[in-house]
């Protein structure tokens, strides 16, 4: 221990002699972070990003992003002497003739999926616990930006090998660009350097995939983390936890070891997937040819919901004054996703407008204690889930012996009917859970132990909660609805107009809650004879 302490002291002095940062470093090295499994979701995303940078760099050493035509002469026999792009040939070379190449390709693809899945899970955690509220709106916006860029980056990434499956995806992207009113065919010709597929697209998206977007990710992630650091992490409610403190463990040594260890675990799990679970076996698809396609063409899951929307949209096209507007592409491919992402990005501001809440929040909500928000989240998820199901309608049809028509009609009706239903049901469930909490606080926990009283009556023993549990279940805020004055000071009727009325209606929906039990109520009930 003596030696370690001496070395530690020397390092600290060395650094401070050259930076004068002793005070700042001491404060930050012992910075406190709260502990909860759901706080690790964002960590998974960060570590996946590092894994993507490492494995991606490895792949660039052999990948040739060129659409020039070559004849394959590598060791994968079924494709020998077949004409293909240099990009596809080099992807095959990495898979079959570079030792560890296939492993790295699979690690890269798996970590990309983990990156996206982690972001979505992290986003859901932040949404359902209300972590986006003031002062963290900016970080929510950055997060939504990262998800959006992640979808693009993932799409570009799996388009690079130029196999039959990914080429078909690029064809669809081209059709979306081409469908844009007025400028569509121009943009498509600029993007592809001429008619589809051309020879320019893969080299161009390669630059975007390995340089432009990773740089954007790095910048956004850095700001995201700096804000988390500066604003301090949110925490779940509980005894001793308030809006004015953070309860947890210091960065050094606990979180250095835990977070560092977790990085290796995430990398290890990704490597395990890469070693055991085959993903995107491009050699089975063959090189891209616009005259061919494979059955069961599926994008990765984060694109699947978009594809499902496109699949379910009715065949609408307008022909106006000799020009064509493809609603069947524009609405599901651009307009609906655009509206969804805009609403998602603006949600913190929408909620604060609805509730009139302008105060800082550092304690998280339990999802049940904010039924309206939880219901909005569940509703949005159910929408995306229905479209995602439809995105796999061909596979579902073959696996479950259904017809495409059945699934398509289920989705077309479901996408409109299911989300409102989910909203109502979720809100009811949240309120019921609040009632259950209330019961538990006032009457104790059911133990399942039945006791026969001397006069023959059977009662179940209820165990009283600890003070800590009672506090945790009752500490949440119970805001009041905004009230619109009928007349203002000068006697003008309804001074806030229709906007005020709408806002008051939203606010009313948002504060719907079961009153949390209070100590006074508990006392009034007496203790434990129920």
């Amino acid at each position: 221990m003596k030696k370690a302490e001496r070395i530690g002291g020397n390092v600290a002095s060395y650094v401070d002699d050259r930076t004068g940062a002793a005070k700042w470093l001491r404060k930050n090295l012992t910075k406190v972070f709260p502990d909860h499994w759901s706080f690790m979701l964002g960590e998974i995303v960060l570590y996946s990003f590092v894994i993507l940078l490492l494995s991606g760099t490895f792949l660039t050493f052999w990948f040739d992003p060129s659409q020039r035509e070559v004849v394959y002469e590598g060791s994968y026999e079924p494709l020998q002497d077949i004409k293909m792009s240099a990009a596809y040939a080099s992807a095959l070379h990495i898979s079959f003739d570079v030792r560890g190449g296939l492993l790295m390709r699979q690690i890269h693809h798996w970590s990309a999926l983990l990156f996206m899945a982690g972001m979505i899970a992290h986003l859901m955690r932040v949404f359902f616990t209300g972590a986006f509220r003031k002062p963290r709106e900016a970080n929510w916006l950055i997060g939504v930006g990262l998800v959006t860029l992640g979808i693009v980056e993932g799409f570009l990434g799996y388009s690079l090998p130029d196999d039959l499956l990914s080429g078909t995806g690029v064809r669809i992207a081209e059709a979306i660009i081409q469908a844009l009113p007025v400028v569509g065919s121009y943009l498509a010709f600029f993007a592809f350097g001429g008619a589809f597929p051309g020879e320019a697209f893969i080299p161009r998206i390669y630059t975007v995939h390995v340089l432009l977007l990773p740089a954007a990710f790095l910048a956004l992630i850095t700001i995201h983390l700096m804000l988390v650091w500066y604003q301090k992490h949110t925490q779940y409610p509980g005894p001793g936890r308030t809006e004015k403190n953070v309860v947890g463990y210091p960065l050094m040594p606990i979180y250095m070891a835990k977070a560092g260890g977790f990085f290796f675990i995430v990398f290890g799990v990704t490597a395990l997937l890469g070693a055991l679970a085959s993903i995107n076996p491009i050699w089975l698809y063959g090189p891209y040819n616009p005259g061919q396609v494979s059955a069961g063409s599926q994008p990765d899951f984060y694109m699947g919901w978009l594809d499902g929307l496109v699949r379910m949209f009715p065949p609408l096209e307008s022909y106006v004054l000799g020009y064509t507007i493809s609603w069947n592409i524009l609405i599901p491919g651009l307009i609906i996703p655009g509206i969804l992402f805009t609403l998602m990005a603006l949600y913190p501001f929408i909620e604060s407008w609805m509730t009139g809440d302008k105060s800082e929040h550092h304690l998280l909500d339990r999802p049940r204690n904010n039924p309206n928000r939880t219901a909005i989240g569940a509703m949005s998820l159910s929408f995306v889930l229905v479209t995602l199901i439809n995105g796999g309608n061909d596979l579902l049809a073959t696996h479950f012996d259904l017809t495409i028509n059945q699934i398509m009609w289920f989705s077309r009706i479901g996408v409109i009917v299911i989300p409102p239903l989910v909203f109502v049901i979720t809100k009811r469930i949240c309120l019921s859970l609040q009632r259950a909490d209330r019961e538990k606080v006032l009457h104790g926990r059911e133990t399942g132990r039945l006791v026969m009283l001397p006069h023959g009556e059977f009662v179940e023993i209820h165990e009283e909660l600890t003070p800590a549990e009672k506090f945790t279940l009752t500490q949440h805020l119970q805001p009041k609805a905004l009230v619109v004055p009928d007349t203002d000071a000068n006697g003008v009727k309804n001074p806030q107009g229709i906007k005020g009325k709408i806002r008051a209606r939203f606010s009313q929906a948002h504060v719907e809650q079961i009153p949390a039990p209070t100590e006074s109520e508990a006392k009034a009930l007496g203790s434990g004879h129920h």
Binding site: R99, G100, L103, P135, T168, R171, I172, E174, A175, S185, F190, A191, F192, G193, G194, A195, P197, G198, A200, K232, P239, N245, V246, G248, Y249, P250, P253, I254, A257, G260, G261, F262, F263, F264, I265, F267, G268, A271, L272, A275, L276, P290, G291, V293, A295, S297, D307, V310, R311, P315, Y319, S326, N328, E360, H362, M408, P467, K470, F471, Q475
Partner: protein
Amino acid sequence: MSNEIQKFQDPGLPEHVHRKTDVDPKAADRAERQVSILFVLSALSTALAIYAYVFISDEIFFFLPIMGDTNAHQLFLGLGMAFSLLFIGLGLVHWAKNLMPDTEVIAERHEFRSPDEDRADFVRTVKEQAGAAGLGRRSLIKRTLGLALGASALTPIVLLRDLGPLPGKELEKTSWKTGTRLVTDPGDRPIRPEDLEVGAVAQVLPELEPGKVRHLYDIAKDAVLLIRLRPSEFQLDAERLSWTYDGIIAFSKICSHMGCAVALYEQQTKHLLCPCHQSTFDVTRAAKVIFGPAARPLPQLAITVDSDGNLVAQRPFNEPVGPSFWERSS
């Protein structure tokens, strides 16, 4: 009882519960050994990865349940790498959880809003400095600066102009001309009506002019599907019927929705299905859309036979093939 409502009080942070490793030195030593064992296992896994990289041939396959035929080189290299990482991670976490202090610490949080005084000072400074720069008064500067900034953004956009040629009429043309022979894809052999049995499908392309090469962007517009039915099965008007030859009908293979190859033909129902978005076209009714998101039928190519008995195009397509675009007139 008073009428004042009293909420449940915060009992404060629960007391720290000692772990076994905190109180029992033997347990702590055991935990230390466990951590070390995990690190040693990691090193052994790295050795396995290097051994697999150097010594296990990539030609050895063996059967594993669930996974099927598995490449030994790839598997052991991957497992070695995965476990070398996993064990480091598990070791670190085990160390942190059992041997590092686990007392919860409370750090104070401060409201971000500055004291009113500082705030007012800040706002005043911003106003004063903005005023000093004349931002409010000198509107000519503001407007011309806006113009200059806006205009300077045009240069990078203009610079992107040479990314590609202008589309012109390119999207509306294909290589099919009057009398172009249909050739098989792959193979580039002329095709005769008797080569196709009733119920058969063939993918064809326009015959290449001598000295020309076929590019993928040609195929993206030229690919055509030939389908042979019994002539009595068609439900076509006289004009469209005259575009078929002896029960053989030809459609653009490029989907009118988003341009995928419409490759799935269902012989029983005589439907063509696009695997991308399941648009379904009825072959007997000139590829009318009967299901899915496509808004237009597949363009039909008028075909006949030449004097040698080979199938040829009567004339070019009478409409653009592939997905819609703004300038498309119908």
